[in-house]
Symmetry: D2
Subunit: 312 residues, 4 copies
């Protein structure tokens, strides 16, 4: 490797991480005849001192991604609980097991299932994928600091009225007509970061991540319904506010939301009116609104938001 | 075109159809403050005498695909009702409006929405995409014959026990181990064809397609849960049977169902047992079971099943 | 199973097939330092007597899909050659190995690679995915009959002029304006079926499937470029004609081709002209043209076209 | 809005941006009969003072996303040139046209086309999508600072030998076997950031972005082929080094690359050997290596890397 080292004496390794992505693990809890199912896709990425691998091809520090995968399965044997708790266990394991692993990023998607209704009752061991949104979580560890971000994506919502868009600036390229009654539709991607103290081991609060998830989801939906929307931006603020008001353990809420255009079809050439009843749902292009809402004083996010796509 | 005609004197136009695909139409019914939403992607394809367009570039018979799209929106103004009824209206329109259009194929997907729960009640005009399966329908018209096939896809189900696979033939390439307790999982794609008499204009029965859809869906799910499954094939039979027993207006049920493998992870290298609790859900390859179940005597399907992908 | 049999005495098993789908196999030929790569996704589906599995859960006839997968890998050890030849070998194996397997369907996609250009030469063992179209093949066996269909999909082509659409019928729903200069763009999905005699074991011709593929692909592209297009339908005919003229061993060519709309953007509100220079490429909806071209006399296709999606 | 303001006195708007995403623009240059095609998907996002829209639904500052779309088409009338130059023009326009727009992010994907070979020559106005990688660019403006990042994704490469993985640490969860001869395959996603001085208006260098793109792409491919790979990490370093050595105007190169596993299939149960000839290409999970390489001294990246997914 001498030759290489000489040639690129001025080129250095910057930030880096590596691991195994999309480890799909299905955990059945079958202590009784009434089974429970947990279904996750887990990604584990380690950070630390991996310079020798990059510069010299020396793998002495490279915990194989295959080992990271195995660890996910091994840890699942002891149960999942919630994606956040499971990822925290993985984070603590890798950073304590290998001296040179000083941090990392552990992420998961969770897919919801519900019991099939058979003969009027939820079945003991037969399930149907719930569809709708995908739950997700990201745990970042950086030395002694631990960050937890929870979220969801692909929660598609629509208001068929009580939305408009007026009062915007016009220039040479403006052709859009103002409207006081339009469809407002989006796929909600939301992430909320927990206060560092709240998640710290010795913290004063103990978080039930599953219960909080259900509650935040309900508040986001409820916030979407309320009032007249002058802009998707305003509606997002309303949604975030409900979450932050109800959950002091959450410091900030971030959104990345398409404005899914539903255009009123002009039916006049066919001799028909169209009082906002028939719409063409367009795919591309679409509006894209990214907005972060946070308390005036928040705990230090560190690098927790790095690499979360689609959020500014 | 003389030159071309000469060169290929022996080449003829075979079966053909054309139209507009994936016309996304969202219909809001807003007669009262409690809105209703219908959300469809419609494909219209015409059949008939289009030889001149192919051989000579003469478009005198080519009803533009843009016109077909416009017609979808124009017809939506008068309401959707059910995808099946909407497609039948389109079929009757095109085959009666243009003398040379002797038939065609009209297909739709429908995406379900449910009211957002806000302050304990379903909201009047705010909806969330239900997710889960996609409903579909195909209406085929061939001269005076009309065929209706309804269906669904992507209904993902899983049994965490009461499934096995034993007693299969072994050969040189067999390495699979028998098991009496495995996960059985699939994405149900099912289609059911209505008896021709039942859908004929002067038929003795009047079909409520929406109600039938809900009932068939429930029966398919219930059928999946029942009993011990010796093979996915057997479970499909059980599901079809429930539908055909309860719905005399349906002649046949067809399935195209992946066997979504969930492999028990071997945790013994890590000093752990794994009594069917931790599974690796694999993507590819997957088993693929296609099976049609029908009454002993059925009405003539004509060309109704042509072009429906993934069904043998 | 007695109970079930009684209940559904009038419900019978119709057409069915099953197997393993999307078996991804990469074969490296490394007899010399200059490696060759073949990269396929293979689907194997068996047909025959599988009634007992469906009705009684008796798997005595069910060659496991896992075994079918293993067989693909085992056969790959002896080489691929071409997808068509490889699938024929699989077809002959399964129908001769198991008495009750009377036929089936074997399909493959092949992904092309090319050598990386390094220091001015194609590298010996480093490759880059070629992208562009995906090659495919379907082999169907039905008793003693063997059918071979080759094809490609996702070959995206565009003509920036020499295309128009005029002379079409107008009705109440027509708003489309005629144009004599538009963009014509499509993703070519084409399939061509070989004459049964040409592929029969004792046939008079020996087909080089790889060479034929390259040639048909070139002819389709060349046919797309030639002359003024009055309709996509006409252009497809021109493309098919070139193939059938040059390849007597091919009986028919089928297309399923979207008309990918490129709309001229109206720039006049911005004080700009737009002489067919700036286009908006729309996703949905799109035109969809399906057309089959065949010799006046062709060999019997049997069930070779069943289940090929998107072809009427 | 008084009520809201009171309730959430402690909740503030954090970072935010909005705009129109995936504006697909196809530009045909037809000054002569030999047409040129440029095909881009452009996303425009504005940053600045948009607080009133979020907190009060006041849109006085909200340049409609529709206007941003129109501007893309209007600017395309004057030509594209390169995605980087086009985005810079958009950036300068929006930040100078609207006082409260102090910055933003403009991104594009570009899809390559090549002339169809017809009768031995590249056709004048018929093109085929080149496939292979997608080129991309991101231009960020933050006050007076301008940042340009170019890149590509989905460049799939494979080495069939000269790669191994040994010498890694083992723990309780390690089952992976060492190998000195494996397939190394990845989809290269690479981004390179230009030195700020090099892209500044009064900079000493004038960059030909198209030429640089072609050259960087070739160097990345060449770097992938060279030498024995002890780890994908090492190969990435080698690729970056070639780029940075040849292009002083580039400050850093970042990679996000899956390790696409190709497992040697065990054919011994079938009585066959497998000297690294038959592989199973797995989809999930996959290794994921993210690594940034940079000069020891680089110009300040500001917020240029924010929101670029998959890069740590």
């Amino acid at each position: 490797m001498t030759e290489n080292t000489t040639e690129n004496s001025k080129i250095v390794l910057g930030k880096n991480q590596y691991g195994k992505a999309e480890v799909r693990v299905v955990k059945i809890t079958r202590d009784t005849g009434r089974h429970e199912i947990e279904d996750l896709s887990v990604t584990s990425q380690l950070r630390g001192d991996f310079t020798a691998a990059h510069l010299d091809g020396d793998n002495a520090h490279v915990v194989p991604t295959d080992t990271q995968k195995n660890t996910v399965y091994g840890f699942a044997r002891e149960g999942i609980g919630s994606p956040e708790e499971f990822l925290i266990r993985l984070a603590n394991h890798f950073t304590s097991e290998f001296a040179w692993v000083t941090g990392g990023r552990w992420a998961a998607e969770q897919y919801a299932w519900e019991r099939i209704l058979a003969h009027g009752e939820g079945h003991d061991h037969s399930f149907v994928r719930k569809g709708q949104e995908v739950r997700n979580a990201v745990v970042t560890k950086d030395g002694d600091n631990l960050y937890v971000i929870s979220g969801l994506n692909d929660l598609t919502v629509l208001k068929s009225t009580e939305s408009g868009f007026v009062g915007y600036p016009k220039d040479r390229f403006t052709t859009l007509q103002e409207t006081t009654d339009r469809i407002l539709a989006t796929d909600v991607s939301a992430r909320w970061r927990y206060n560092n103290d709240a998640i710290a081991n010795g913290g004063s609060r103990s978080i039930d991540f599953n219960k909080t998830y259900d509650d935040v989801r309900a508040l986001l939906l409820e916030g979407f319904t309320e009032g007249y929307s002058y802009a998707l931006q305003q509606t997002l603020f309303q949604m975030a506010q409900k979450v932050l008001d109800a959950h002091p353990e959450i410091d900030e809420v971030r959104f990345s939301t398409p404005n899914k255009h539903h255009f009123v079809v002009d039916l006049t050439p066919f001799g028909l009116d169209n009082p906002n009843e028939v719409f063409y749902a367009a795919d591309r292009p679409y509006g894209l609104i990214e907005a972060n809402f946070e308390r005036e004083t928040i705990s230090d996010p560190g690098n927790a938001w790095d690499g979360i796509a689609g959020f500014c």
